[in-house]
Symmetry: C2
Subunit: 472 residues, 2 copies
């Protein structure tokens, strides 16, 4: 079995950045992220106006580069691209990532023709194209990135996105949830490789366990849905569709020259293929977070604990509205509370309201009892950081006591935590922020996904349940 065509081009021995500069613009930008992420091969800045860029020797043209050039990033203006492609053909380049835009997405006939001319030249010369009009590749293990500040660590999430902005936003959102990427590719106008190629690639990629996609338009619908069905049978595929309504469809045309189709047909096809739809990038990351950390959730019966008063009542409403089943507190738990002498054994319910604080009634104990009770399919817990009162408090002790109080690190059922960070200026207090970050890390290390509110936790759980039931 020969390797996938994308596999062949994703391990370049060297990268040339055509249109690089020292002026801090995007050209220079494509050199700096490679240096920052520690790309091991040679980096060749190409720009006839410079002899040196970002500390590296610069070349006037690709063909002037002495060594092998496998991968080219282009940020030169569109009209200069055909000649550059010819240069790449001559040099034996494997792939050109065209950050260069102003092609078919402009809606102009001459620009669309220029795009086709580029494709012809590349194809006949054996050069593949990523883009045009996109940010290209983020591949942490190979040290390839298009943005500064992207995480250096790899992980099991693969992302193919028609929008480069979306890749940046998704990677940073995912970073806050402890999610890392195998590869993330933005592919813009999909002139050569398209959504099918990227999906097919991630389907067979052993480094990728969860697939995310942001798609504006599909070039080959029949092949795409066939691939989606076969891929979703083995790996969760989560898709955000951009261009769902009239104005969004108009926006996709000018963004990546995509023709968005009927949303109803799209939703049905995605659903039938066994993939999962997300409405926006936040939901995309929430769902991946759920798939990454949680074992399969077998049913909708949820136990909710850790909230108090109105937040418990609203949690019940919101869970139910999301399709979950907030069952009454099982009689076994009530009996256990009674046996322990709790004065509120007949009052507490599900959600378990912790506004009445008794020493014998603690959230850790409740979560433990819910975990042991067979009536619950999974659990949701409200948590905030401990209250840091300043001064010479022992921070490590504070964190240990907090973790002990909630006692969630050994919970066996799927557990989602709603982590409430806001309020009381905690966000701007660096000590408090460190405490919160440490606790979040502890939870993620125990395979517990974090959500910013109950609505997002409940909706994620419901979509995971549907996914696993469909799969069964």
């Amino acid at each position: 079995m020969s390797a996938h065509p994308l596999e062949e081009i994703l391990h370049p021995r060297s990268i040339a950045v055509v249109g690089a500069s020292n002026s801090g613009g995007r050209g220079g930008g494509f050199v700096a992220p490679l240096q920052e992420l520690g790309f091991k091969g040679d980096i060749y800045p190409v720009n006839p106006k410079y002899s040196e860029i970002m500390g590296l020797k610069a070349y006037a043209r690709v063909r002037d580069i002495p060594g092998v050039v496998d991968y080219v990033i282009s940020s030169i203006p569109a009209p200069q691209v055909p000649a550059m492609i010819d240069d790449c053909v001559q040099k034996g380049v494997k792939v050109v990532h065209l950050f260069t835009a102003r092609f078919s997405e402009t809606g102009r006939k001459d620009a669309a023709e220029l795009e086709q001319d580029i494709l012809r030249r590349a194809k006949s010369g054996g050069v593949r194209i990523i883009g045009p009009n996109c940010m290209g590749l983020y591949y942490p293990r190979e040290g390839i990135s298009f943005n500064n500040g992207m995480p250096k660590e790899s992980g099991p999430v693969g992302l193919a996105s028609q929008s480069g902005q979306a890749v940046g936003e998704i990677v940073f959102l995912a970073d806050e949830k402890g999610l890392r990427f195998s590869k993330a590719i933005s592919y813009g106008n999909a002139l050569d490789f398209n959504e099918c190629d990227y999906l097919e690639y991630f389907a067979q990629d052993p480094d990728t366990e969860i697939i995310m996609m942001y798609i504006e338009g599909v070039r080959d619908g029949s092949r795409f849905f066939d691939l989606l069905r076969s891929t979703a049978a083995t790996k969760p595929v989560i898709i955000v569709k951009g261009g769902r309504g009239t104005s969004g469809t108009r926006a996709t045309a000018s963004h990546t020259a995509s023709l968005a189709g009927s949303m109803q047909v799209w939703e049905t096809m995605v659903n039938q293929a066994g993939a999962v739809s997300a409405r926006d990038l936040e939901e995309l990351v929430d769902l991946a977070t759920g798939f990454y950390y949680l074992p399969p959730i077998k049913g909708p019966r949820v136990g909710v604990a850790g909230g108090s008063g109105g937040s418990s009542v609203l949690a019940a409403d919101i869970c139910e509205e999301a399709g979950l089943d907030v069952i009454p507190l099982p009689v076994e738990i009530r009996e256990k509370l009674k046996a322990n002498g709790s004065p509120i054994w007949d009052w507490v319910g599900n959600p378990a309201d912790f506004s009445i604080g008794y020493d014998d009634f603690n959230v850790g104990g409740m979560i433990q009892m819910m975990d042991e009770n067979e009536n619950f399919d999974f659990l949701i817990l409200f948590m905030s950081g401990p209250w840091f009162r300043g001064g010479d408090m022992n921070i490590n002790k504070l964190i240990e006591e907090h973790m002990k109080r909630f006692n969630v690190e050994d919970i066996k059922k799927p557990l989602l935590v709603v982590f409430q960070e806001r309020g009381r200026g905690n966000n701007t207090d660096p000590v408090m922020q460190n405490i919160v970050n440490e606790i979040k890390k502890r939870l993620m290390d125990a395979n517990i996904p974090l959500f910013s509110n109950i609505g997002r936790a409940a909706s994620t759980a419901n979509k995971l349940i549907e996914y696993y039931q469909k799969k069964k």
Copy 2:
């Protein structure tokens, strides 16, 4: 015209805290917030076990207090309350806030009878009751609070909430949006004053321009909806209903002994009364933020700017799905771009995508053109903080340049800003956090409300439009 019964009791000359202690529990907690917020009258801790609490002389019983006692906060156990009420009657106390719980919300017959006994004693002795089972009053101008860390500043928002937890959460959420409160009252089981009294009070309160409510159950539906109709005609009333489904209804019974009714009837009645429904506390605060900062929004035609790539496409989708009309970019703006020589005059649309950066095409200029164009009813702008590169950057200059670039402080149309804080570790960098806070403050000072994502901005705008259209 005599003052509203609540007005009479909200300006106490002194407050006694029965059940106060030095042990840092809730009893002491009710003394400390009064001291922190600077309550001007006398504070009398009451507890026979102490001679001094939080630096104040403590008394064994209310009747032992030498001076006048207008207002009593009770955190003693439920069985001790009747005798304490008798004491208050003897002392001429005007109102007792019963933080004390374990009454009808327990579902126990004897507890419900105890509650009724307390009501009888209080009524016959001329003492009014707030609660029981609630956090009571936050009234910043009078220096009254039940939580530490509540803002000292007053504002035009009045809040009546059956849940005390919800008051705390709402006040802190609102604080992040620059929203302040006239009074916020949590009223729990509504034994004496109920939702009608609080709504009636805020309706006539000259300090309150926007009314928020969190309600689990209504004691007098007919009077409530009459009041709601007359109040909503003059002030926006935003209501979150807790206990909408089966499990939530179960939760309201044990939380505040409320009987939640049919949600469909409720929604219809709220809608017909001209009030606004919110699904959760975040939406409640979003809506109040919109009402507070914005002039009436006359229609659904929105101009969106400042996003880029995928975020622009998804913004169009999400706005349309929320009921807004993302109209094509008006021809006048296109002509103006063309006349200015912009190379992308025929490409840019609405949402205006700023992924292609040209010097002559800037977000401030676009917002200005949208503001001057009569086809837009209102505007939404994406903004994040400026990119702080560390070192000896001049922070004030950075902020000034940022504000100048977006140029929104003089926009005349209603403008909502989606402020994107997250990503790239900005949240944990104190310098970056200061920059972001300063910019947010500048925006709020210019009467621009901030939202954390496009979905929340779009939904808020749509509900405001519906409110103003119904009012007309």
